[in-house]
Structure formats: C-alpha cells, structure tokens
Amino acid sequence: MSGHTATCPNCGAPVNFRWSGAVQTTCEFCHSILVRTDLDLKKVGQVADLPQDSSPIHLGTEGQYQNRPFVVVGRIIYEYEQGGWNEWHVVHNDGTSGWLADAQLEYDLSFWTKPPKPLPPFEKVHRDAVFQWDKQQYRVTSVTRAHYKGVEGELPFEYWDKHDMIFADLRTTTGEFATIDYSENPPLLFMGRPVEFDDLHFKNLREFEGWKQ
C-alpha cells in the first residue's frame, strides 16, 4: 500500500491514497469526486450527503480474512425496493482488491473474476436459471434492479456517473455465490462467499451507543 498524497483541485486539501490502484476517490473535506489523471486529480462531481446508514464498517476499518489482511478504502451504496446495501472496497497489501458487501449485516466477500467462459446474455438470466462455472452449478436466486445511492473513498474504476444497475445473484449448494453486473458492457463477474463477522477479525469499527463490540 502506498501512502501517496495529492491535492484536491477543488479545495486544496491533501488527498491521501491508501491504494495505488485507485482510479477515483472523494475529498474528505469538500466531498468532491476526484478522478485520477496521469498527473493530478480532476474534479468530476460532488457527492451528495451520504444516506444514513448503520454499518459498523467505515473507511479505514481493517480486517483479516483467512490470514490475508485488508483495509477498507472505499464504498458504493446501492438502494433497491427492499432496502439497501454497502459494497465496501477492500484492498490487500499485495495491491489486489475486492468487495465486502454488507446487506443488513449479512457479510460476503467477492472478487472480480475473469469469466471462465462467456457470461450468459441478460435475456437468458432469470430466477432458477442454472449456469456452470468451474464444475460448480450456479443457480440464479435473484435479479435485482438497484440504483446507485452514493460513493465514498477510493474505487478501482470511475463510478460517479452511474445511475441504474442490474445485478444477477447466483448461488451454489456449497454456499459460494456469483454476481453478474449487467450494467457494464461486457458484464462483469464477481465470485465470492458469505463470511461470518467473527471470521473477518475487524479492527477500527464504528461504535454504537449502548453497545460493546
């Protein structure tokens, strides 16, 4: 992880990068959305006030999963008709990054994966459709239309001009899951599994009134 620092083109405040691969970040002080160019940062937008949320995770939370330490450097907040969830962008010290989802405190960890074979076209994706990857059967459990509610911190791609997203969630009988992001062209595949809070060995979490961790 590099401790690279730049200056916010909007307010002049220092902008620290925890992750050298970041393409986009937000200024902590003026909430400008900043995109990295070759030389410096360019303001491309402004973050609206983040919706109220009660995730115990925040930017800077550290953890360790299966002996791989990670730090939370960014997040995307999605909202759909049944509520919302956070996708926390986590980076490991070897520079690789993944996503720690927190949907009403059900956690899962997933990584962008190069599809082992071409992803099914969206027309073929509906509930209970079955696809096979890596000798594992994945069944579509839901197709979710979500919209993008907010963004914070460092992200591996530009994510400031997105609005509506379509995700297909697939699961296996052994608990693994896959998410296909059909709002990208070509679609993106993320593969992962649910994780227990205790298995993430968090440090530096938020505090809740009346509760001890």
Binding site: S142, R171, E207, F208
Partner: protein, 437 residues
C-alpha cells in the same frame, strides 16, 4: 498513514414521535429499521424516511405480551442480542395454532430470530446457500450445506400481530408459505412469499436455556408435547445400549469359555441296575460309595432308562458317609409315544438329569428307591454321577436379562419419535388422531 482514518461519530439510537398518536417511538435497530410499531397506538410506521410515516393502523384485538419483553438483551452463542421486534404468525385454517417470532439484533453480528411454540424454542439464522431436494427414508428432504433435513410439515402462515421494529416492511395480514424440515436439534425452514424464498436454520433451545440467556425473572414454563426438532433424549443411546450389550455378550462368552475350561466335569460314579415292579422285598438299596473332591461344587446325576410307553419315579438321597447328612430328592422319568390322526407324537424322555449345587467334598453314596406301576414291565437303568459340571442355563439367563436395557431404550426412543411425527404432515399410521395432546 492512518492520519486520515478519522473515526466517524458514535452511532446513536434515535427517538421519534408517532405521526398517528404523537407518542414517543425509539429506534433500537439504528438505520436498519424499515418498519416500527408505535408502542402506544400500535400503528405500523415506515422508518425509512427521516420522519415516521403511517403505513397501517392496527385494530388491536388484544394486548399481546411477549414472553421476552422488547428491549431485553440476552447472550446466545456468545453474542449479546437485543429483542427489537416480535410477531405472531398464525396458521391459516387452524385457529389457535401459531407461533411467536422474536427479532434479535446486534449492531455488529446482525439479525437473528428466536421462535416459540408451546414453550419450545428455536434460535434461527438466515442461510444463503442453495437447497438440494433429496429423499430421506422415503420422505421428501432437503440437503443443505452437507446436512439432510426431512420434510416435517407445511403451513400457510399469516402475520396476526406485530410489535417493535423490523429491517423489512412488515404488515399485519402478510401471508407466507412455510415448510419445515428437521434433523434434530436442527430445523431448516423455507418461507415463500411472492417473489422470494428465504431459507433459515434453527437450533432447538429449551425454555430453561432461553430463560437463562435473557435472565428472565419468572418461573421457567414447561414445554408440552414433543417439538419437530426437539432432540430425543434417547438419540444415540439406542446404538450405545446395543454396543454395550455386544460387549457384555462378548464378556459372557469369555466367562462361558473360562467355565468350560475350568469345570472339572469329572465322572465319579456309573452303574447299571434293573428294577422289576411288584417284586417281593424292599425296592430301596444303596450304591457303592464314591469320592467328591476339591472345593464345594455341584454334582450332576444322570438317569438313563429303557422306559418305553411307561413311567418310573425315583426317590434319591445323596448321603455323606462320614456325617450321615443327606440330600433327599425325587425324579420322575416317563416316555410315551404313538401315532394318532395328527401323525406321530411323543412325550417325555427315557432319560433325565438333575444338578445338586454346592456339594461339599467327602465320601458319598446314593440311596435309590424306584417306583413303577405294579403291572409294568421291568426296567433297566443306569445312574451316572458327575462332579463340577458347567451350568449353561445361567449364561442363557444372563444373555436374556442383558437384552432388557437396549430393548427398553429402543421402545422409549420409538415412542418419542412417534410423538414427534404425530405432529407432522406424516403422522405414524398406528396413531388414529392428529395433534391429540
């Protein structure tokens, strides 16, 4: 590097007021709460917006009183949870049949549930894996994360009352199709609503465990009947009882071998005689003396006769030559056979044997007095005395007695399982009534 890891402020519980009655409404589930029931007027309110909005005004038929009050905290599986929501789910078409559900919350670990039916409890969490349909002992079953659960029952559930807050949009009158699958102490449940099927896994808890976890002050109530996933007190004990029985049988076999090898089983006397009924003179006589040696031990007297459709009675006395002390006993030998309309038949034997236990060593003789019908044909017979014969009857008796505990446990275990399944959609055929407790 962590200079910019500014910790966000402590998340605080929120207090709002009810748009219907103006009463105070506290949110214990922070921003997770989407629905909350006003504790004063029982209106269901939408909590997803900064101020509460009315969703459903509830005609409250009766004051519901959850056994665990809202706001109680309890420790389950090493985590402290707070009860933030409560709902009663009734079974459609079965009035009075229904269960309670408590929503538990911990701001780090998330949401869990506990359910209660007739003082039987389950601690429940939602599962994310895919179920695999299968069969178990002829019944429909589900395999999930390496474990097979047998289908127990199906119910159409309707939410009849709600209290507290929920991270989803609750409504009184909401319907769901619920299926339970069991593998005690676990229960897998699926809840289907239009557009969604949620799978969850419950583990059986007793009232005492729940009372201890939440430190409830009242007396622990008693559960009635056997619940779907209540662990059987006999589970595993049947197998271990049979295992113990097998070991004891092996031990018994060992004893038998030892007895067989250590028994002296020595012939100490053998002599042939004849007896003519109705003959003049005294029928009784004494045999030659014989020696019984070693420790006190049994003797066996064997009587071999040539009786043929006839009977004889023998009065015996085994007399110690030195002390004059005797053991008196009598034996009847009879042997009949023939043919009738059912074919050939026979009754009795022409030989007999008897064991006298614990005879002290010494020099003994037998006094013998045969008796027969005065008109019967004369009888030839032989008397044989053996010292220290192994007695197998005790071994058989022991084997039989040892069978009692495993059979007893098996019967109790079967009775427990039949009580369990009587409440299911698959009542055992022997029981005539359903849910008759």
């Amino acid at each position: 590097m962590s200079s910019l890891a500014v910790s966000p402020p402590v998340v605080k519980a929120k207090s709002l007021s009810c748009p219907n009655c103006g009463g105070p409404v506290e949110l214990r589930g922070f921003a997770h709460t989407l629905s909350v029931v006003c504790p004063s007027c029982h209106s269901i309110l939408d909590a997803s917006t900064p101020t509460l909005t009315l969703v459903q005004r509830v005609q409250e038929a009766q004051r519901i009183q959850p056994m665990i009050p809202l706001g109680s905290r309890g420790k389950l599986e090493n985590t402290v949870y707070e009860v933030i929501g409560f709902q009663i789910r009734d079974i459609v078409g079965e009035p009075g049949e229904g269960w309670s559900e408590y929503l538990l919350f911990n701001p780090y670990k998330g949401f869990r549930y506990i359910s209660e039916y007739r003082n039987h409890w389950n601690f429940i969490r939602v599962l994310a894996a895919l179920p695999e349909p299968t069969k178990s002992r002829g019944k429909y079953a589900i395999r999930m994360l390496g474990q097979t659960y047998t289908h127990f029952d199906h119910a159409d559930a309707v939410t009849s009352s709600v209290l507290g807050e929920f991270p989803w949009r609750v409504k009184v009158g909401e319907m769901a199709q619920v299926d339970d699958y069991v593998s005690p102490p676990y229960m897998l449940s699926s809840e289907a609503t239009p557009g969604e099927v949620v799978w969850s896994l419950g583990e059986y808890y007793t009232c005492a465990q729940i009372w201890r976890a939440f430190q409830l002050p009242d007396r622990v109530p008693r559960a009635s009947g056997v619940f779907a996933n209540q662990p059987s007190p006999y589970a595993g004990r049947t197998a271990s009882a049979w295992r113990l029985w097998l070991w004891l049988m092996i031990a018994l076999f060992g004893i038998t071998l030892v007895m067989g090898f250590t028994s002296t089983n020595k012939e100490v006397f053998r002599h042939s005689y004849s007896f003519t009924p109705g003959a003049a003179g005294e029928p009784s006589f004494v045999t030659d003396p014989f020696d019984l040696q070693g420790r006190p031990d049994n003797i066996q007297l064997e009587i071999n006769t040539n009786l043929n459709n006839n009977w004889a009675y023998f009065n015996f006395a085994l007399i110690n030559q030195d002390s004059g002390h005797g053991y008196d006993f009598g034996r009847e030998v009879s042997y009949y056979y023939g043919t009738d309309s059912d074919g050939s038949w026979s009754e009795g034997k022409s030989r007999d044997s008897v064991i006298l236990p614990n005879v002290s060593p010494g020099r003994y003789y037998l006094r013998v007095e045969p008796e027969m019908d005065a008109t019967a044909t004369p009888m030839q017979y032989e008397l044989v005395v053996r010292r220290g014969v192994p007695v197998w009857i005790w071994i058989w008796l022991a084997a039989l007695l040892l069978l009692i505990p495993p059979i007893f446990i098996k019967i109790r275990s079967t009775a427990f399982e039949s009580k369990r399944w009587r409440e299911s959609d698959y009542p055992p055929s022997s029981s005539s009534s359903r849910g008759g407790d």
